[in-house]
Amino acid sequence: MKAAPFDYVEAGSADEAVHLLGETGAEGAILAGGQTLMPLLALRMATPAVIVDINPAADLAGITSGEKGVRIGAATRQAAALTSPIVASHAPALTRAIAHVGHYQTRSRGTVGGSIALGEPAAEQPATAVAMGAMIELRSTRGARLVPARDFYLGSYLTARADDEVLVAVHFPQWPAGTQIVFHEVARRAGDFALVGLIMLFDVCDQKIARAGIGWFGMGPTPIAGLAAERALTGVALSDLDPRELARIALAEVEPADDLHASAHYRKTVATRLFERSIQTLGGRVAA
């Protein structure tokens, strides 16, 4: 349980992190909160030649709000985001999600950017970024770019981030006041990764769904946007919602696998019930 040898360098700023990763490329690994990378190093599932520590980079941490939403610096601790009044008012869905991330003792180190950069398919924050339509800010010595979270997750632990790019921030758009948030997570123990996870946002206007955002976790090789379900929900009056038909559409978009903890059949059955019940609650047919 000891890591293989590596070199360690500190990045004192975002610029330094970009330069250092530009030099190391695929041989380097960014160390943010370390709540995933450190276990991977201990288990020797990751053996980078160089660790670039971004914890000293003060300009990579911080939460700022603007007209369009909230920007969370990559090295912002989950504990800080969880208790941030700015996040609570501008992106309450993220506050809801982070309460389920790991444990008290891991949120004190774990970062928002680290989790979103990794894209663990059963994790809460990547799916929340997908559901909300967040934008991911990447920077390298070649320049900077913004990638929609919905285009970021390409496969199992495979993202659109190039080896020399540093994820510097995530922009969470503000949804209208009164947006209804649904968050479901079924796990064996508190703090475990989800067996089934679902986060949904509904902007309801004049008793109609003006816009829906849906993110699944633990339901496939990546966090999954419920695109077809969002389309099927948009513009529909609350009184006309058909929970069973909508759940059928939604479940066609996920592809959970069998594993040690739950079968694909179990995951689909639970997900169907959670989705149906959420739509029933939204339609006012069942008390929340």
């Binding site: 070199d7 360690y8 450190m38 008290y104 891991t106 180190r109 703090g191």
Partner: protein, 157 residues
């Protein structure tokens, strides 16, 4: 493989030494600083036995590199009791409520509850119970710890 000179505060004392980049804070505390009260359980972030406070925040010492502690303040279970006669109030509650069996996990439980006990506003019993989900006890000695939480919550009111 880089080697680093580090210096940090451990329970109020300055400790210094050299550490290979890959050395965890846990191993540095136990092996280099000789403070074996912090226990090495799973060594990959699952069990919580190695929880220490870094600048007041509970962290898993196996998930931090020793070099990352440079310049920081670290507290371990050895720093809790004022003397061999006077336990820390949270330790005293553990004793009164028989909140341990073999004691392997106890230093971790203590550090989390000590950190929460310092917070303002005081956390609720529910919040403390939720935080304890980050600690595993293989003797199933949770009931005693939960009695400690009840008493801490009562004191906080």
């Amino acid at each position: 493989m880089s080697v680093h000179f580090i210096e940090f505060e451990l329970n109020g004392w300055t400790v210094e030494g050299t550490a290979e980049a890959r050395r965890t804070l846990l191993d540095f505390i136990r092996v280099d600083a000789g403070c074996t009260g912090t226990h090495a359980g799973c060594e990959h972030g699952v069990c919580g036995a190695c929880t220490v406070l870094v600048d007041g925040h509970p962290v898993r010492a196996c998930l931090m590199l020793a070099v990352q502690a440079n310049g920081k303040s670290v507290e371990t279970v050895e720093g809790l009791a004022r003397s061999s006669e006077e336990l820390h109030p949270v330790q005293q509650l553990f004793r009164e409520e028989f909140a341990l069996q073999c004691g392997f996990c106890t230093p971790g439980f203590l550090m989390t509850l000590v950190a929460m006990d310092r917070l303002e506003p005081r956390p609720t019993g529910e919040e403390m119970r939720a935080a304890l989900s980050g600690h595993l006890c293989r003797c199933t000695g949770y009931q005693g710890v939960l009695r400690v939480v009840e008493r801490l919550a009562e004191q906080g009111k």
